[in-house]
Symmetry: C2
Subunit: 325 residues, 2 copies
């Protein structure tokens, strides 16, 4: 290519990874892309870890399905599709175009007092993610993780602590923007929950058990989504701390799966950086986003597509008649 | 908007700036976008500051005009146009589609031994940039800076030192990837040149004099391009260290002009970070790019467009029926 070696920085690694995932160089463009927004509710909401009412999850699922959320605006701008997957919203949302009803249970139990879900439910939610990824991979060149669930940064922090060994105070953040007393309560809740998980999960069985103990249904589905994308050899762009926590689960279930994942961004939530560090993923964007929905991952799509495009289109020194140094 | 306050991070500042530039909220989408690649040669090439032969500038201008460079691939992917402006290439490139011939002189003089150009030439090159920006602003919603010129990181480092007070060893980098002896020579060249500029330019006259003493013709044109974009109230996305150095000149000529500029990325070249810090601009991307051509700025375009799109499209809590906390 007519450029100095290494001059495209991180995008050279992205291009190489895409070629590896596809088993072809140049790799296909990651198009069309689709964001799968996995939605679920969290029993830990009862502990007062967020000022938002739980009903907002269902309302936002309707907003996402109706095209009114930020991720819909970004998707329209960037030429991507959005599908919403109800994997565990507490109240029925009702059928809507672009909404897949895959309810495993109507919200998790309160992770601060006991297991968030059963092993069977965790497994079923993982399988939902695999199924959605497999179906979408058949018609799309890139999968993007999205999430919606009031209370899900609490479950994410707990998963990050369990899978990385991080301290709850270091991994727990302000989510949508909570005050100091709420943050203190949130750290205390995470501390109590993580204490029930003995050591970092070293086997797939232990990973599934920790997921059931601490995670959300959308975390489970997202872990499956990452596995399904890898199995289909389609690149998957990870969003924020919810996806990062889910990717830790996916890596514990099948380490090789992460070879096909890219970290779209690093969010303002401290547990996200810890998760990415543990996964060895360098985020493409750092814009202090803390919205979720898949917004940060989706914004990285043009970078990934441009990296692939450069491999395909750029002239060589020979073909362009440019002198090499 | 149906999102927690502040949750779009840096993009909220971008959206507010776009609204300010347009004098309208929501602002228009920054479309269509066009990259103007200003090309020039540098007499300092004679000092051995780069391993690339000077003829590569003209060859790459032909490659850019022919659509074979990386910025062309990125532009095709991202829906932008590319125009190339010969403002000072050492050898005639010849007419080509998409190439504007605005030659002020065929390359600068060697800045290590005397002024790179006359005051009149510097002014004329600034005016080229203003003219190109004014013309392009009439049919485009976003202007993107691009540059091509073997040796131009040496002139950039000299400008950064003169306009920020930075030490030559701190501001001078490896450009396309030079070895240690070449870097030492480059620092020495920059040190000698900057010593001829007495203090940081405090007036427009002093800024033009420093530009003529140390800059390249493409730096002068890019400074004018930033001024022209501001006058036309069209946002301008700045690329790497060449644009950063030119923006320092533009800020010294007219500080208010920078209110309409966005830093697309921060490059691997150390002088770029120093320039952005002095300008108070936070870069949107940090991908360790060091290619120039406008590649880094262009990659930030989807972020800027998405920020504008969110202001336009996203539902409110009321319209979506979502409960506020």
């Amino acid at each position: 290519m007519t450029k100095p070696p290494g001059s495209l920085g991180v995008l050279e690694d992205v291009a190489a990874q895409l070629a590896g995932t596809a088993g072809a160089c140049p790799p296909p463009l990651p198009e069309p892309a689709v964001v799968a927004v996995f939605a679920g509710d969290h029993g830990v909401h009862a502990q007062g870890v967020t000022p938002w009412p739980q009903e907002v999850t269902a309302q936002m699922v309707a907003n996402l399905a109706g095209g009114g959320a930020v991720v819909n605006a970004f998707a329209a701008q960037l030429g991507a599709e959005v599908v919403v997957v109800d994997v565990g919203v507490a109240t029925p949302v009702g059928p809507a175009a672009g909404l897949l009803e895959r309810t495993v249970r109507r919200g998790t139990a309160d992770l601060s007092v006991g297991p968030a879900m059963t092993l069977a439910e965790a497994r079923q939610a993982v399988e939902v993610g695999i199924e959605v990824a497999t179906t979408l991979a058949a018609g799309h060149g890139c999968l993007v993780t999205g999430d919606m669930g009031i209370g899900n940064t609490t479950a994410s922090a707990a998963l990050v602590c369990a899978f990385t060994g991080a301290a709850p105070a270091a991994a727990t953040g302000r989510g949508t923007g909570i005050d100091d007393p709420t943050l203190a309560r949130k750290v205390e809740v995470v501390t109590r929950a993580v204490a029930r998980v003995p050591g970092r999960p070293a086997t797939p069985e232990a990973a599934l058990a920790a997921l059931a103990e601490l995670g959300g249904l959308e975390h489970a589905a997202l872990a499956g989504f990452v596995l399904g994308a890898a199995a289909a050899r389609v690149p998957v762009l990870l969003d924020g701390v919810i996806a990062g926590a889910a990717a830790l689960v996916a890596a514990a279930l099948c380490p090789a799966a992460l070879e096909h994942a890219l970290a779209g961004h690093t969010s303002a939530e401290p547990g996200h950086g810890l998760a990415l560090h543990a996964l060895g993923l360098r985020p493409l964007l750092g814009l202090d986003l803390r919205l979720g929905e898949g917004t940060g991952a989706l914004l990285s799509l043009p970078l990934v597509a441009s990296a692939a495009r450069a491999l395909r289109d750029v002239a060589t020194f020979d073909s362009a008649g440019v002198t090499e140094k």
